[in-house]
Symmetry: D3
Subunit: 248 residues, 6 copies
């Protein structure tokens, strides 16, 4: 089984972190690769960034479909950008890390908290929790006010840890969800320190795709998620036309 993990931003170092987490979580026999899109923002910290990350990630899915090189896909940004469009495009299943992390956390108790990066991204996480039916489980979305690319800087780990601790004490949460693909490597360490399960979406999504592929399950394609109809695309995005070389 081959799983393609797409980091929707264009920062290769972050793709490497993500790939490490995805590979570490996969079963033996599953080949996991992470990829950086050829276009888009270096980090996703606004609705604007998220919208502009979508073409690049769709191109990666289209390429893999054309090559027949992947059985399933992970979208490795906590806003789950382009998820519905990706499901139309891919033959195999596509899972976002926010949906996988939050659905996984729902198995671990009555309520979880999300700990994310910038304050301004909290709204999107709350939206997704509601959209996935998890509003009752998601007790609070907390922000550390650390930029996505600053997670590696000194002090960042301590700030994230402190916020996770507050999730346990103040929210009474049974589990914590890390709200950014860039936090994947902190997962085990934080869990050990705060004494509750901590969910990394990259790992959760990778295993979820594995499960879907293993069980022969993919997006139902007889209605809303059928392959998009081919039609002219123009301008800068002309190559995104379904049937063009890049979206074959």
């Amino acid at each position: 089984m081959r799983i393609l993990v797409i980091n929707p931003n264009t920062t290769a170092a972050m793709t490497a972190t993500i790939e490490a987490s995805a590979v570490a979580s996969a079963s033996p026999g599953t080949k996991v690769t992470a990829v950086t899109p050829a276009m888009g923002p270096v980090s996703i910290e606004s609705h604007y960034d998220e919208a502009l990350a979508v073409p690049g990630l769709l191109a990666e899915i289209a390429r893999a479909e054309a090559e027949g090189s992947a059985d399933g896909y992970v979208i490795a940004c906590f806003g789950d950008p382009g998820l519905d469009a990706a499901r139309e495009l891919a033959r195999g299943p596509v899972v976002g890390i926010a949906e996988a992390a939050m659905r996984t956390a729902a198995y671990l108790g009555r309520g979880f908290s999300v700990v994310t990066t910038l304050n301004r991204t909290r709204g999107r996480a709350e939206d997704l929790a509601a959209h996935y039916g998890l509003a009752r489980f998601c007790r609070r979305v907390r922000a550390c006010d650390i930029g996505v690319l600053a997670l590696e800087e000194p002090g960042a780990r301590e700030t994230v840890l402190a916020e996770c601790r507050r999730a346990v004490v103040e929210d009474g949460s049974d589990a914590v969800v890390l709200g950014c693909a860039g936090m994947a490597e902190l997962c085990k360490e934080i869990s050990a320190e705060i004494g509750v399960p901590v969910v990394d979406g990259v790992a959760a999504a990778t295993r979820t795709v594995e499960t879907l592929v293993a069980l022969g399950l993919r997006t139902g394609d007889r209605g809303e998620f059928a392959r998009p109809p081919a039609k002219p695309y123009t301008g800068l995005l002309r190559d995104f036309q379904v049937g063009s070389p890049i979206i074959s």
Copy 2:
């Protein structure tokens, strides 16, 4: 007051229809212009099309912001593509035609039905109704199974009318919402025939933007909807970097 109506698809004939409806609905003294993006799909009939329509529409907003040529914006596709991103980018208010149509219909009785084009787009309309808090008001989303660009063809008007009639009889709806910008010109005629109010989102959104601008109201920009942070963008989308010539 100057309102820019963006048709997120690239079909100029449809932009003209939309502009006519927007202009007809605006108050005297309001200058309304509709624009066709320089890139993207000729029609929006899938999540994929919708995702790829966003860069083009954001570019139009950015251009108008750079020129200072608009006080508010309408996004004239019933999927409200790119709405949150547009709100981050624009100084003035931005309103989608689905949200305006559905919120307007909620003033007209206990329940409304949406009549849209292709079956596969119903899911998005249901999503939006829930997202805007209108699930209780939206009794049913009905599709005519007519493509967006086929609305002008012979027989299409009759099919839309028949579906609107069913909305009144079968759903018991007090009002009908037309679920596609391309249906704007049918609004008055259908209302006359079925005897209940029929809401065209282009008109509703244009008047809503007018109201917001007139009252000095714009998106709150102290949190989630603050201007996106400037950062590198790469590849085909490099010019979408905030601060670049096209997103000044």
Copy 3:
């Protein structure tokens, strides 16, 4: 276009404040008049007051309908008293200031707070937010514990302002809704001081009625909101019989 704004309480000074806000918000060419009912409470600060305000406001709508002197109506009390009954009675659209203010605020970001007068009226505002589908948008209803008729007294403005400030800081709201028609004149000033959009329901409702009338939209009257059946009324309220001189 002629819009009748009904202040459901009997305090003429408050009617004047309301009229000023309504007139200021209307488009050129729209004639806005505010009216004080001939019966009822001097202010509305309980469910009891609200219930007893309804006959007087319905009489004003009936009078205007008989005269043919209005194309649409605003109910200018934040409890939206008698809204459903008024919709049955009026040929043109009827909009309450709570529904208009809250629906308008929903265009301005992810969440708003309501700042109202007495603590005991918070429940009604919360009820309305839920009823209009805006529970998710309405982060908190805050009270200043100032009586409706004391809003003009020294210190009141400062108290309202302080509560609005708390809405921004503590609730993280993108916008503030003023929860009393008597606060209309504070709107611009408070917005300037707290740096987020502030919505006055009188202005929002006046513009919304304008929009509905301009677009030819009125309450659907084929079901629940058809004209009430004529039938005998007795006692003190005998003149409220549909078909009587006052409810012609």
Copy 4:
């Protein structure tokens, strides 16, 4: 214990039917009286009728409070008119027949249907089900299209029965709620014929008030439901001023 049942319409024959049902359902030792208001509509079949029924019913509560002649109150119209206002006015508990009927039916299985009179009143019943938190339990509100005062006419009983039967077969409901005080006397008979429990709101509300009084429970009056502040009332409704002879 003395319970006052208020028929909010002015039809004495219906008050007699209601009283019979209330008396039959009360415990030995409880004195139940039904009363017809001195003002208002002969039947309640619209939001307009409902609004105009409220002053008369509040006057009856105020009179009983002044006399000290009742320990608790039932509002015997399925729209629960004036319930919140009545709770502010009364020292003892006040229960509406819609809330009592629907909450009682919720003890009898997973779902119930409401069978009511005119089609146009269905919206109010749906509203109340949602307001009381019973949307999940209330599977459907069905109308017989019989006017409130026509329930005694030949054929009416058969029509109501047929609709109740459909509730069992089509909705799969475990219980049926009769959606009009005027249907009280049909309750036992219909239950026998359709084989599922049938709830009459007059009986349910009378017993609920009995329970609340017996347990020493009344509306909490430290916040929203404190006695309304005294203030001037004018015009036709001047005597409704709290502290006046009729609202002492």
Copy 5:
């Protein structure tokens, strides 16, 4: 009328407290008996305890059904254990104290708080509030961190009282629900001290069963709640087979 109140734990002293409250709340002419099951945990303070309390309580219902010795049943543990199963087994109505207490409190104002024993039981109470449609009414579930069997110890009453006081001040609740059958005897005293109505579930459920029996209402048994099909049971639980001596 004969009501059987089942204390689902095996502590006879607590059964006595429960019986006292149930007897005190019943109408003259109603014979109320409380019973202690022959098997199960001495107190219910976990999901595990609750699950293991169910066989014993079902056996008591089955015995009473076989004897024909009860017209209705109360399940006197705030987790409402085994309620759906009991409804299948009993001919008469069955009411849990959590559902009765919470539905009763909903008649007393806009919101109530629950005050319960151990922190770990809060989740179950929140679940039940949601399940019964009362999430909007239930403002907060508070725990005293007192074990069920420690409620009689010195200081316990003060701790419960303090938590009830906080419910009024911090939650703004109109009423308080006592979240444990063992708190029944504190009800009147706490209400007197905190000045808002306090609901004891044992009393509320006893009166509710009385009401249902008096009105001839029992669980609808034509679908989900029909008598369970007879079938083999094995092992330790073999006597629980429907049709066996203990489940005749």
Copy 6:
């Protein structure tokens, strides 16, 4: 990794079917065993059966915990009986087949239908969908009116298949969830015939437990799901006392 799958009924043939599905779905290297409890009903077709199945399944978990023979658990009955209690008892994760099947189906499109056995079990499935936050995804729960132990009889397969087909055509569902552990072996075949993904809960839950164990995730045990306090148990259930030989 060792996963214990508990068939909560006592029919060994059904345990074998379940084990086959669980084993087939597990990754290489995972040892899956299914077990039949030593007590309880031969099939679970009522709330009563479900309640009485819980002690036997908890005993199996306790035994495996005492032996240290399992890293995680599947509860293989679509009512997810005893799930919360099992989570308190087990050190490793515990997953029910209804929650796993429904959460898995939510990755496959906008909506799914559940196809279950007897009509009377539909209510429980609807309850669980709501409880897990999946009410919006679960379009309809359909029953075949086939007893759990009759699924192997001639004609049963055709009846299940026909109902699944209706789920696609009438409900417009993107996926179908099989609502009984006994249907596991039909999964692939039905999917092939109806052309949409079909989810078997046994397979989904087995893979979900695998994922949780692989990622080091187990139920958060610092609050509600901490190990149950030890205390006396009496009568037939005395050995269920925490700390006894069977619940060590």
